[in-house]
């Protein structure tokens, strides 16, 4: 739509309408966070918006950790009782164990429920904030960012955060507390055995850190390859017609096979490394178990250090408690990094400046309708590369204006400016004598209806898609609008008529039909000013003529602005504005311009140059 030559800030090419889908995962998803602290702080703040719940969760986690640690201790005592043949002591400990276990169950159930609730509420809020921001972002944002990337922030990134939160919060709290608690209990019983057990801790940490480096590397590569797989499938399906037409199936297949084979290779590496942690940890565990038993037995045998069989049992099960949190935190570490990177991407959107709306004037309160005045308008998408230069034009109420000119002459830009999707650099645009920068944006846009080059429809019924122009319209009004835009006939022919569902934003309708639907939507809005930007390019000329006739009646005392390539579409206009490189070069009625023998005349003649062939 808007083209500049600056490499950096050019709007992105969208090969697929609706953005590149998952393409972006090629680049993203496994980034290293830039500002860990900042992002983490905000993430915690999000979690903290449910302060009480968060506090309760922490409390519950603490209780559950204590109970998890008490269990083995009491078990050990019970064993000691057996060893010492003291039945009452055994029963007392068993009773104690029962109570502790009972509390433990309640606690772990409630912590599970609370953390699920906390996670979902947090993510819900995040998604809501994100979307709330999204709808208020300026059009410039959408033009300058890959749609696939925006989508991926809203879906993949939020999901990553959600999953991590739900696992990390519980695991980290309980992990840290477990490690501290285990150490304390161990020290209480025997400093020497604690020393021996801690060897296994160091081994566990070392192995996990060592392995997770590789795991991270391969998972990152994995993620990239998965992104490529996505992109390749998408491209093959999206471009299916072209692929078939050029017989490129085998080439694509080969390309895909290469990626798929590579994915297999890195996947195997990533998985072997990450699964290898398990047997290795088991080995370390068992080994340390053995050492503890051996050394402990030696102490018992020597009768030193007040060592009992029960203490040994307690130690063996306590040392098992160690490796679990270490393991978990190590796995989580990679995930948390990803989640922080993801939350940075999410916060980036949330921090984007929304569209400002400083205008106060309300257009609808004005009696007069639809005069537009452009005065010395200058505009550029990228500084230093003017797209519109010294544009002057006055449109009277009820006039039908046509903008013509070569592709790239700035016609669509005029629509962007009038709707205030972009703001002009210099000069002014007035509607009904009021500078549009002083008009409330909502009021401005409500009084203008546009039908765009790229039709946008929603996955809903035909009726609701047309009703988008006026939410409280009755079915009769909807049908009336469809009749005016010549859409009624084809809608009637559908089995479910106005209740027919549009699949995937209307991909089940032909381009021409989609255009008719979006015209019906604009008609229903009953605007003061109607803008048609190549709105009928895929509609045949006779249907177009019918629409135009109906429009003329409808727009009798309203203003319309038409952009078209077909001269037949614009010949009847009250004023034809010929644009070239952002300037107005000619203005006049069809006959006047022809008589002038200028640029319009040449355009018109070229239309018949086709006769030569």
């Amino acid at each position: 739509m808007n083209r500049q030559s600056n490499q950096q800030s050019r709007p992105v090419v969208r090969l697929r309408p609706g953005g590149g889908g998952r393409m972006s995962s090629i680049y993203g998803n496994f980034e290293k966070p830039k500002d860990v602290k900042g992002a983490l702080k905000r993430l915690v703040k999000y979690l903290g918006s449910n302060v009480y719940l968060m506090l309760i969760l922490i409390l519950v986690m603490m209780i559950s950790t204590v109970i998890n640690l008490l269990g083995p201790v009491i078990q050990g005592r019970a064993i000691d009782a057996i060893d010492a043949f003291e039945k009452t002591k055994l029963f007392r400990n068993i009773l104690l164990l029962g109570i502790v276990y009972g509390i433990g169950i309640v606690v772990s159930l409630s912590s599970g429920l609370i953390s699920a609730y906390l996670t979902q509420k947090t993510v819900r809020k995040m998604r809501k904030d994100l979307f709330g921001k999204l709808v208020h972002l300026p059009i410039r944002y959408f033009d300058n960012h890959m749609h696939g990337d925006i989508m991926s922030r809203m879906t993949n990134d939020v999901d990553t955060i959600a999953q991590t939160i739900s696992q990390a919060v519980a695991s980290i709290i309980s992990g840290i507390m477990t490690i501290i608690g285990v150490l304390a209990i161990m020290l209480f019983f025997s400093a020497k055995l604690t020393l021996i057990s801690s060897v296994s801790i160091f081994l566990s940490v070392f192995v996990t850190v060592f392995l997770s480096k590789y795991i991270k590397k391969y998972f990152r590569r994995n993620q990239q390859l998965l992104g490529m797989i996505n992109a390749q499938v998408e491209e093959a399906v999206y471009g299916h017609k072209t692929v078939a037409a050029f017989g490129k199936e085998e080439d694509l297949q080969q390309q895909f096979n290469e990626t798929s084979n590579q994915l297999r290779k890195t996947y195997i590496k990533a998985q072997v490394y990450s699964f290898a942690i398990n047997p290795i940890m088991t080995f370390i565990n068992n080994f340390s178990f053995l050492v503890i038993v051996a050394v402990g037995a030696y102490f018992v045998y020597r009768g030193t250090d007040a060592m009992t069989v029960g203490t040994i049992i307690t130690f063996t099960s306590l040392s098992k408690q160690f490796s679990r949190p270490i393991n978990e935190i190590a796995t989580l570490f990679v995930q948390i990094q990803t989640a922080i990177a993801a939350s940075e991407r999410v916060f980036e959107v949330i921090d984007e400046k929304p569209e400002v709306n400083l205008g106060k004037e309300l257009l609808s309160e004005k009696a007069k309708v639809g005069t537009i005045e452009f005065k010395n308008v200058y505009f550029s998408y990228v500084e230093g590369e003017p797209v519109i230069q010294d544009f002057n034009l006055t449109v009277e109420s009820g006039e039908k204006i046509a903008l013509v000119g070569a592709t790239g002459s700035g016609k669509t830009t005029m629509v962007n400016l009038l709707m205030r999707f972009y703001d002009i650099d210099q000069g002014s645009i007035m509607i009904d004598g009021v500078d549009i920068r002083e008009i409330d944006k909502n009021s401005l846009r409500q009084s203008i209806a546009i039908v765009l080059q790229d039709t946008v429809l929603f996955t809903d019924t035909i009726e609701n898609n047309i009703r988008y122009g006026k939410l409280d319209a009755t079915l009769d009004e909807v049908i009336e609008a469809a009749k005016i835009s010549n859409a009624h006939n084809f809608i009637e022919r559908m089995q479910e008529g106005y209740q027919t569902k549009l699949i995937e934003s209307g991909s089940n309708f032909s381009e021409g039909e989609r255009q008719l639907l979006s015209i019906a939507r604009a008609v229903l809005a009953q605007p003061k000013i109607l803008i048609l930007d190549e709105a009928t390019s895929s509609v045949d000329t006779r249907t177009e003529k019918n629409i135009q006739d109906a429009m003329v009646a409808l727009m009798k005392d309203r203003t319309s602005l038409i952009i078209a390539h077909r001269l037949s579409t614009i010949r009847d206009a009250d004023k034809i504005v010929v644009m070239d490189k952002g300037h107005v070069v000619e203005i006049g009625r069809h006959d006047e311009l022809l008589a002038k023998q200028g640029i319009y005349y040449r355009l018109y003649q070229q239309q018949f140059a086709g006769n030569v062939i």
């Binding site: 609706g18 599970g112 998408e234 072997v272 068992n286 080059q453 390539h565």
Partner: protein
């Protein structure tokens, strides 16, 4: 599910070795508590340090073997699962690229992507789990029970009470959760759909000032997703504690029962109780693992069905056997009718049309009159419902599909370019084209000027930040791609709609010199474009109402006159 077994066949040795290795690992794990029991009972209890060392050494060796087998099992099962997934993925992709048009109409892009990624991933997880975890779970379960009973038969009592209750309970939970997973998935789809529409339709949302309306619409789907996810989470939150509950009950029972017995001196010793506690933990863990596997089976079953739909989608357009490469003949439609299989509505009715070698034929008609369908039938993007299309004397359905389509240069209505450079895209039409050829054809299609204006010229990457093509520019690249191979048949489906008239005129003029003997079939909206043709076919509501020269049509055909005068009344 059995359909997918054959993808595992090439890796059967891995698939077999993985569980064997896993079994060895489990056996070593099962052996450990027994050795430890002896250490405690005999070594510590009777002060026999020699036994401690002896058993300790054994334990180390067993642990080492166990770890080694465990690693091998990981390696083998990953090999098997990845090999399986890789082959399946490649095969599925081949199905996707060979789908017929009516089938791509059925699958949405997004769903095909998920089928080839997530769904196959779910199947992979199942393979990986069943080659390792399943064996592990069963062996831990069976082995644990046997070992426990071998310590004291009375432990059977508690197992027979606790285990059935526990297993039933887990399955009740899973059964309740399973349908919810599907619901969560579909509410996730809803959320994504609203987002997608707002990202790609931002202009329309703003133009109609529907920001708040959209936020509300999103709120509804967002809440639904949150609530449904919570419903699942609530059920899942019960499973863990329930498991712990049974583990705890059993532990207490063993301590009580075993402990009392040991104290009374009726055959049990401290070490026995300890070993029993270890085995109980193993047994209950194994039940948990089986539950997890069942979860992935449920998921894999749904995924498998979705992948199977792709694998079963045999292209309805099947290749013929006759080589088409040397064909250069008239195209003849005899009594051709067509209805789309999905809707059943007739689109073309009894079309008879002869297009001559080297002729330029334009097709004109109202929106929905069947123009695109008509041209789609020739290279067999769809097959006729009735009648036949011949090239020369050969029914197109008898022709080899690849060689048939190679005869054509096609520019579809919607321009589809591929990621890669501009020159890569143009070379699609002729893989061995030199840069000079590409430049020549770009001059023909009036693209050379703007392409050479780019910093990277023909190497400019399409589809990444930093390069931008307008609709008209994309169309010209697509035309260049179609004509660079100088095809014998060229189909333009409203291919110049985004070009301004002077560019279009220059393009046609240059193209007629570039393509000497090519038959050109041209769908047009503008009469000026159609007037260039030798003949113009008028379609109306699926019927071919006329096919004649411009001059004749202007005299005889009411529809044509209507179209013509609506566009060019002054020039009449």
């Amino acid at each position: 599910m059995t359909k997918f077994i054959r993808y595992l066949k090439p890796y059967w040795y891995f698939a077999l070795l993985a569980p064997i290795m896993m079994a060895l690992e489990v056996i070593s794990e099962l052996r450990l508590p027994i050795l430890m029991k002896e250490i405690v009972n005999v070594g510590i209890g009777q002060n026999q340090s020699a036994l401690i060392w002896q058993n300790g050494l054994q334990m180390i060796i067993i642990v080492l073997i166990g770890a080694f087998c465990g690693l091998l099992s990981v390696l083998f099962s990953t090999q098997a699962a990845q090999g399986f997934a890789n082959d399946l993925r490649k095969d599925a992709f081949s199905r996707v690229v060979h789908l017929s048009f009516e089938q791509t109409d059925q699958f949405t892009i997004g769903s095909l992507v998920t089928r080839l990624t997530n769904d196959i991933e779910n199947l992979r997880i199942l393979v990986s789990q069943s080659t390792r975890m399943f064996v592990r779970a069963i062996m831990l379960f069976g082995g644990g029970i046997i070992m426990m009973l071998s310590i004291d038969i009375s432990f059977a009592l508690i197992l027979f009470v606790v285990l059935p209750i526990e297993i039933t309970l887990i399955f009740v939970f899973l059964r309740k959760a399973a349908p919810l997973f599907t619901i969560v998935q579909s509410s996730m789809d809803d959320v994504n759909a609203v987002m997608q529409e707002n990202v790609s339709g931002a202009r329309v949302v703003k133009a109609y000032v529907r920001e708040d309306f959209e936020a509300k619409r999103f709120g509804v789907t967002n809440d639904a997703l949150t609530n449904n996810t919570l419903r699942v989470a609530r059920i899942m939150a019960f499973i863990g504690p329930a498991m712990t509950l049974f583990l705890n009950i059993t532990t207490i029972f063993i301590l009580y029962w075993g402990g009392s017995k040991a104290i009374e001196g009726s055959g049990l010793q401290v070490g026995d109780v300890m070993a029993a506690l270890n085995y109980v933990a193993m047994i209950l863990m194994s039940v948990m693992m089986v539950a997890m596997i069942f979860q992935s089976i449920t998921r894999a079953k749904a995924s498998g069905a979705r992948v199977k739909e792709v694998m079963n989608a045999y292209p309805s357009v099947q290749s013929g056997t006759v080589d088409a490469s040397n064909l250069n003949d008239d195209i003849v439609f005899t009594n051709v009718s067509f209805r789309y299989p999905s809707t059943g509505k007739p689109v073309l009715k009894n079309i008879n049309l002869e297009i001559k070698k080297g002729e330029m034929l334009a097709i004109l008609g109202a929106t929905g009159s069947g123009k695109t369908t008509l041209v789609n039938l020739i290279p067999r993007f769809y097959d006729v419902t009735d009648g036949a299309i011949y090239i020369g004397h050969e029914d197109v359905r008898n022709l080899d599909l690849v060689s048939l389509r190679k005869l054509f240069g096609i520019v579809p209505q919607k321009t589809e370019l591929f990621s890669g450079s501009i020159i890569d895209n143009i070379r699609w039409g002729k893989p061995d084209a030199t840069l000079e050829e590409v430049i020549e054809v770009c001059k023909v299609v009036q693209a050379h000027d703007f392409v050479s204006g780019f910093k990277d010229g023909y190497d400019t990457i399409i589809g990444e930040k930093g390069s931008s093509l307008s609709g008209g520019q994309k169309q010209r690249i697509a035309i260049a791609r179609a004509i660079i191979g100088r095809p014998r048949y060229l189909i333009f489906d409203d291919s110049t709609s985004a070009l301004d008239l002077s560019t279009e005129a220059r393009l046609y003029q240059a193209m007629s010199a570039f393509l000497k003997d090519t038959m050109i079939i041209l769908i047009a909206q503008r009469v000026v474009s159609a007037k260039r043709a030798n003949r113009i076919a008028i379609l109306d509501n699926g019927n071919l109402v006329a096919c004649d020269t411009h001059a004749n049509l202007l005299k005889t055909n009411a529809i044509y006159q209507d179209i013509y005068y609506s566009q060019l009344k002054d020039e009449g």
